[in-house]
Amino acid sequence: MNTPRLTAPLAAVATCFLLLASCSTNSGTTTGTAPASTRGTPSGPAGTSADGTKTAPDPADDPTVISLPLDPYFLPPADNARLHTALDRLVADCLRSAGVRPPAPATAPATVLGRYERRYGLTSAFGARTTGYHLPAHPDPTQVPLSSDQLNALTGPQGCQESAARRITGTTSYPGDAYLVRSVNQESFDQSTKTPEVVAAVAAWSRCMKQAGHDYATPLQTGPWPSEQPTDEERTTALTDVACKQQTRLVRIWNEAEAAIQRTLIQQNTTAFDNVLAERRRMLSEADTVLAEGTASGPGRSAAFG
């Protein structure tokens, strides 16, 4: 693990302001899908190849691209979509059997922030320059309007949604990430904040910010800003924040420290993590069964309410 270099941090910050486009190559729309070579695999210092020779800047130093060993254990969007297709089928069949016309299926929402976009604080230079610490503009997805009959049939302990959920997830809840995965997601972060590498990098970031006139102990103390719209002061602070992260290599250092912790936690709980994947396979298999059942009779029945 490298010690952050702090030679002339203000000069670097100023350079970043002048050449802001080069300070970050992403626009803040990362979804945590880093190239396989950077997925939670700590490598050598930025700009250094395996044999120690200098190379081009390492993509892993792009602070908006973060990945962690836990990634495969979050429910993938494609799998979630299959589960929802089956859930929609079950709900529609249930409603029809109650004499209620099914509503149109809901669609997947757009991402507002990437999975790890502000995990170590603000990292997007584009976001800093445009909306500061405010959230980026985002749409509320089209809501499916419901009649009172539909609402009543869908909800409650005897409702169609809960019965559909029980068939697929075995609970009263629609699918989400496993508790174990959510726990490690939190635990690894907590542990990482106590590692010497992260403590040193955060202190270096704080000094960099202080030299630019901003007094924060950690990058998680910078928001929110209460003004209705982003202010110039906010954007300036946010740009300095992002530049100081790059100067101190804070995000990569933190990401590598947390990745190491996650690998340990996963290895210590191999059986439990295998069970997370097994339970996902079980849900997907059940979903496929539902969809296979629906294929034979679905179109004809839906036409009755068309």
Binding site: H84, L87, P103, A106, T107, A108, P109, A110, T111, V112, L113, R118, R119, Y120, G121, L122, T131, Y133, H134, L135, P136, A137, H138, P139, D140, P141, T142, Q143, V144, P145, L146, Q150, L151, L154, T155, A165, T172, S173, Y174, P175, G176, D177, Y179, R182, S183, N185, Q186, F189, P219, L220, Q221, T222, G223, P224, W225, P226, S227, E228, Q229, P230
Partner: protein, 142 residues
């Protein structure tokens, strides 16, 4: 950091529509309403398994889909935990949105939608993985 608290009243979200925010505006929270009712509602519970006092937001009336809980006040529903600050004290959560079950609410452990998070699926419940210092802001995603 001390900043002036500005209370804003937002217009009703109204009927089903796709509304694009020019810039997601200020960070102050709308106060919670002490129940978990409504055709679209997000709620924190003081205890696990959706029990104890509740702090709820009706997402169809005057809500913009994100809150920083520094200004969310206390749990208002009857039961264990009533009167305790919502921020950093929730043990479980519910996101009910009948007929629109594809989204989720991301509960961040730090202000400003930063740090690690816990997701609560639409038409679902979740016990939050920590019961202290675990909910400082949240973002409704679908």
């Amino acid at each position: 950091m001390k900043r002036r608290r500005i209370l804003t009243t937002l217009l009703l979200a109204g009927t089903a529509a796709t509304a694009t925010l020019a810039v997601a505006p200020a960070a102050q929270a709308a106060p919670n309403n002490g129940n978990c009712r409504g055709a679209r509602a997000f709620c924190f519970w003081y205890n696990s398994n959706q029990s104890g006092s509740v702090a709820g937001w009706d997402l169809l009336t005057g809500f913009r889909g994100f809150e920083d809980l520094a200004y969310a006040g206390a749990f208002q529903g009857p039961g264990n935990g009533q009167g305790v600050a919502v921020k950093n004290n929730a043990a479980s959560a519910t996101y009910q949105f009948p007929g629109n079950c594809y989204g989720y609410v991301r509960v961040y452990y730090n202000s400003g939608w930063s740090g690690p998070w816990d997701d609560v699926p639409a038409c679902g419940n979740a016990n939050l993985v920590k019961t202290k210092n675990n909910n400082a802001s949240f973002l409704v995603i679908g």
